[in-house]
Structure formats: structure tokens, C-alpha cells
Symmetry: C2
DNA sequence: TTAAATAATTGGAACGTTCCAAATTTGTCA
DNA sequence: TGACAAATTTGGAACGTTCCAATTATTTAA
């Protein structure tokens, strides 16, 4: 009992049929007689059989491994955790299982992790690439016919599918909204300038200014780490200028929270004395005080979307690279001052 | 090229040796001559060989699958994400790969996920059990000789190892600290009473009161969902009583943040008008305003510790169940009022 | 009834690796 | 130089599954 593993042969013997029949039952083939089927199932239950997927994959030697790999660059960031959960949902319900790994933005780690996943025979890969990932890293995968879809961060040169949110549209909408509230000095705060996401969001910011008939002032763009601490830093620098902004679109919610912290440290109340808008709509955004106006990207939905795309490609055998950008919407809450009945925003 | 997979036989042929030799190289055996080793390695690089772990596992038919399964009950909770990252760190550096899944507190999902992991031949399992998990769920695993360690939430009946934080010691320390600041009406806010963690933390709360020479008053324990919203709710109910508390130890940081929100909604400033202490020391605790005094459990360290324990058991072949409780420490920041120079805490 | 068709079942032969025992090469010492 | 030891290398035979072609049992149609 505690000896060897229970195999199809054991249950074949127990059920008085051949191993082939057992295999048929395992795959739910319609060829097998109802009676034998239940006899076999009973034997399986009896002996505590567990399917050996490794052996099966070996024979099938194909895209049928039922494992899909997911690698994210920062699991501790709620956004990515949420994304992974979204992926897991659809992947799981399609009978696949998720192989999740975290790279912590390390490109070496990413390489290791992907190599390991290949060895395990994943039938598809979803990656939110670490910074500075090069498209060549995915070459071997696509050459081997393994569908890959990158998510969140696009990878210019790579011939793989991608799912990114409408960064440009998001910040553009945020700026227009602030402008409609009467703001004219609107800053863009936080984020590292050398990333595709930053570029897109900044572009949207510029678009928004143009659409609102406002001029672009370079000094109103202040970059920083895309973190809460970075936000504190950015607003600090922004407030030193002579002609201060009265509102800010932030690179992401973490930065926005930092900006709020920084404002309070200066005895200014976000939403009353200064308007701030975030990006991502992390879970804390709605419960924070004040509730954060932000661009909602629904990471979980994005994860689901990504997984669906990947599954489609897996089933299609070999699909064309496809890129989808997911819609985004501005969620107006308190931090931009719009919810306040009083018309006045006081410039500090 | 795009035809069949490259196998050991292919590279054996290319390198002019036998498949056995290639296998030896693969395993880094010292038996093979340096010259042949490099010849083989060259051939592998040349042909783009990828190791087929499935086939290997099949033959080795043992605990050598190099996969360890990790299942958590709520990945979107930063605490668990952090835990998973900690696990991944040590697991990865030991040459294993992590198979992470999320159950969203669904016990059915948990069962599915674990079954799937078994089919894939994991050589060990780390579980943060979903609520209402029964010890019998792990029976088959341990019967099959697969090491299991539960983490965060203990599982009374199960003969498996566990790693939990010193919940009791944590709340006890928190209460004593509040008492030392002069508080006498200290509440315990938030959490579901039917969980082991709640029980332990509550017990610590009682211990702390006793140690400080304060009496236990049942009405000062108000449970709620262990979330931010739950915290708002709990403090709301706490403030309706005639003899109000002046301080609170919260079930976790999420609750603590909710309590802060609720206080502000009542025009009270946490840390000045009311002392609040959290539990977990989530990443936001230090940057929040006011910075949250909390019991730090270092989830990442806990994850590392857990992984180490599991690896030890895997290597030892079959190890005795072992339970470790990880140390915890009170991090005094602003929300309990201690950092303030002025002696006065005003009771509301 | 029987031939033909259909439904169920079944032995191998793979799949890509590791292990074993045995074979081969190389080196050492009298 | 021969004999022995050490260092390398090597063919199968597994591992647990699926697939294929072939066999056997059961219906159906005439």
C-alpha cells in the first residue's frame, strides 16, 4: 500500500479489464460501456488512484500539458496579485493549472523561471515582463510553438501577443476632468521615464492638456520612483516651484497616496486644497481618506482577458500575435475635489 | 527543426557519445571526463536542447520532482503575497520551482488545486488553509509520504507541520504597551471569532490586560470582518458605548486602517485623540498618516522559514511533524500616540 | 441463421529520461 | 610487459501513460 504508486495497471487488474480500457475511462471516451466505466471508477476510488500527468504528457508529447506559466514582475504589488488571480480564474476553469512565479524585476530570475517552466512543459506563458526585458528572451518559446502573451508592459520587437491597458486614454481623461473643474496648473507626478508605461501615460497627459486648451509646461512633469515614497518626494519637489500646480495626475495610485501624505505634511488637505488623481484603482483607493479619484484598470479583468487570449491561442494550435488594449475608466471620488458641493478650490 | 523535440539521443548522436553519458552530464556526475562533458554541453547548446523533467520524474518515480506546491487563501491580500514571495525565494534557490495557487477561501477550490498538484507530482506542499479546512483533507498527502506544512492558520487535528506567528505574544505586548502609556479602557476590535487566529490574538489581549493589572470587559471586544470596512464598523459600534475606550488593539492592519477612517469621520485624529495598534505590519503601515503602530510579523520571513522547513522534510525523506511559531515584535509608530512629546492623551 | 456492421475491448509499441550491470579504455605497479 | 585497478562509457530495461491496429462481443439486417 505505502509501497509503489497505484497505476492504471493496478486498477485494470482490480477491475478485470485491460489498461487500455482504463485509459479510455480516464479520458472520458464515449467508447466504453457504462458498466465497465463505473466498475473502473469504483476501482480507482478504492485504490486511491492518482493520475500521473507527467507520464501522460510524455506520451502525448504535445501542447496538452495543462500547465500554463505566469510570471509577474512584482507579486507584492496588489495590482499584479490581482492580475494573477484573474488569470487563475479562467485558467483553472478551463482545466489548466497555473504555475506562478515572481521575478522581483530581476531579468536573470525571469530567465531562470521561464527556462524552468519550459522544462516542465508549459503549454502557454503569460508574462508581465521585468524592466529591460528584451524581445529576444521569448524567441525560443515562440520558435517552439509555445503561445506567449505579455501583459501590462508591452514589448516592442517581440512577435508575441499583448494585453495592455489604455494608458494614454486614461491620463488624458484624468487631465480633462481636472481641467473641467477649473484647474490650469496640472502636474504629472511620479514614475520612471524610461518605461513604456510612463511614456504612454505622459502622452495621454499631453493629449489631455491639448484637448483642454492648456499649454504643456515641462517643469510640471516630475518623475520619481513609482511608489508611495516616490510620491512624497515628487509632490515635495513640485511645491518648491514659484508657480505651483493646483492639481496632479499621478503615475499610479501608490504615488498618489504618497502625494496625499506629502500634502498633509504641508498642512494641505488632498481633495480640498489640492486635487489628486491616481492610476490603477487599487483596492485601497475607495476606502482611503479621502477616497482616491483614479483611473480604474481592473487588473483582475485584465488577467481574465489575458488568460482567455492565451487559451484561444493554445486551442487554435498556432495563432497570430494579437494585441489588445483594455478599456479604462476614470472613477471620480473625493481626492480631486469634484464630490464637494462648494465650488471653490483654493489654490494654496 | 520545428519538427520533433530535441532529446538526449539527438545530442548523444551529435556529440558522438551514448545517451547514458549525456544523462550523466545532465546530472553533473563527476564520473564523466571533462573533455566529453564540454563536448556534450556544446552539442546541447547547439541544438537548443531543453530538459524534459516529466520524463525524468517518470523514471525516478520519487520525491525528486522539483516542484513544490503553494496554496494560499487570498493572494490579493498583501500579507499572503508577501508570504508567497518569501517561499519562492528559498524554494527557487534550492533549485525547486513553485506552483502557486489561490483558493479565495473556497474549500472546494482548495481541494481541486491540491488534487491537481498531486497529479503533477509535487514533492512538497505549503498551505495557508482556507477557512473551515479540515485536517482530513491532507490525509492522502501524508499517507503518500508527501511533506505538508500549513502556515499562518494552524490545523488542530492534522499530523502535519505548521508555521504560525506568535499571535498571543503579539497582542499581549500591544496591550501592555498601551497600558504603559496610561490607557485603561483598551478595546479589541475586528476579526471573525470562529477562527484560530482570532482566538489566539484575543487570548493575548486578555493576557496583556492581566499583566497590566487591568480588568477584562467583554463589551470592549467587538468583532467584525477582518477588513478595512470591518474596522470602520467596529469602531463605530465601540464609540456608541457610554464608557468609551481610549485605545484599541485591532485584529489586523486592515481593521486598524478602518478604525482610523472611522475615527476621522468622527473628527478624532488617530494617535492624538485615540490610540490604535494594528497587527501584521503590512507595507502601508509605515507610510500611512499617521504611521501605524503594529505588531510586525514579517510575512516574507515567515515564508522563507516555512519553505526551509519543508525543504528539510523533503530532504530528510520523511520527517516528523514539527510546529514552529515565529517571533513577532511590536513596532511603535505614531498611531498609538507614543511618539508624541506631549504627555496628554485626551479621552474623547 | 448468417453476413455484415457496430460496439467494446485489448495487447504491444512508443514517449524521453534514469538506472543498472557490464564493457571498454586508461593508468599503475611490479 | 602483464596483470590489476581505476576511470569512463555504454546498451538495454524500466517508469506510467496514450495511441494504434487488431481482436472479440454484440447488434442489426437480410
Amino acid at each position: 500500500m505505502a509501497k509503489g504508486r497505484v497505476t492504471v495497471i493496478d486498477i485494470a487488474k482490480a477491475a478485470g479489464v485491460s489498461k487500455s480500457t482504463v485509459s479510455l475511462v480516464l479520458q472520458g471516451s464515449p467508447l466504453v460501456n457504462e458498466g465497465t466505466r463505473s466498475k473502473v471508477n469504483a476501482a480507482m476510488r478504492e485504490l486511491g488512484y492518482v493520475y500521473n500527468r507527467g507520464a501522460a504528457n510524455l506520451r502525448q508529447a504535445g501542447a496538452k500539458s495543462k500547465i500554463i506559466g505566469v510570471v509577474v514582475n512584482d507579486l507584492t504589488n496588489g495590482f499584479f496579485a490581482e492580475l494573477a488571480v484573474g488569470v487563475d480564474m479562467v485558467v483553472q476553469s478551463a482545466g489548466f493549472v497555473q504555475f506562478l512565479s515572481n521575478t522581483s524585476e530581476s531579468i536573470d530570475r525571469q530567465r531562470e523561471v521561464i527556462a524552468s517552466m519550459r522544462e516542465h512543459g508549459i503549454s502557454g506563458l503569460i508574462v508581465s515582463p521585468a524592466r529591460a526585458t528584451e524581445s529576444v528572451d521569448f524567441k525560443p518559446l515562440v520558435a517552439a510553438g509555445i503561445p506567449v502573451v505579455v501583459v501590462v508592459r508591452n514589448l516592442p520587437g517581440a512577435k508575441v501577443s499583448s494585453v495592455v491597458s489604455d494608458n494614454q486614454g486614461g491620463t488624458s481623461a484624468a487631465v480633462e476632468h481636472l481641467a473641467s473643474l477649473g484647474h490650469t496648473r496640472i502636474a504629472f507626478l511620479g514614475g520612471f521615464p524610461d518605461t513604456a508605461v510612463f511614456e504612454e501615460r505622459l502622452e495621454g497627459y499631453v493629449d489631455g492638456l491639448k484637448a483642454a486648451g492648456l499649454g504643456f509646461h515641462e517643469e510640471l512633469v516630475v518623475s520619481s520612483a513609482p511608489s508611495r515614497a516616490g510620491g512624497v518626494d515628487a509632490i515635495g519637489r513640485a511645491m518648491t516651484m514659484s508657480d505651483r500646480p493646483t492639481a496632479a495626475v499621478c503615475f499610479n495610485d501608490a504615488v498618489a497616496f504618497g502625494v496625499c501624505d506629502g500634502l498633509r505634511a504641508r498642512r494641505m488637505e488632498p481633495g480640498r486644497d489640492f486635487a489628486v488623481v491616481g492610476f490603477d484603482d487599487v483596492i485601497e483607493a475607495q476606502t482611503a481618506v479621502p477616497a482616491l479619484t483614479t483611473v480604474s484598470v481592473d487588473p483582475q479583468g485584465m488577467g481574465r482577458r489575458t488568460a482567455q487570449l492565451l487559451l484561444k491561442q493554445i486551442n487554435a494550435g498556432k495563432a497570430e500575435p494579437e494585441s489588445v488594449t483594455t478599456a479604462v475608466r476614470l472613477v471620480v471620488r473625493e481626492s480631486c475635489g469634484a464630490a464637494q458641493k462648494k465650488a471653490g478650490r483654493k489654490t494654496a
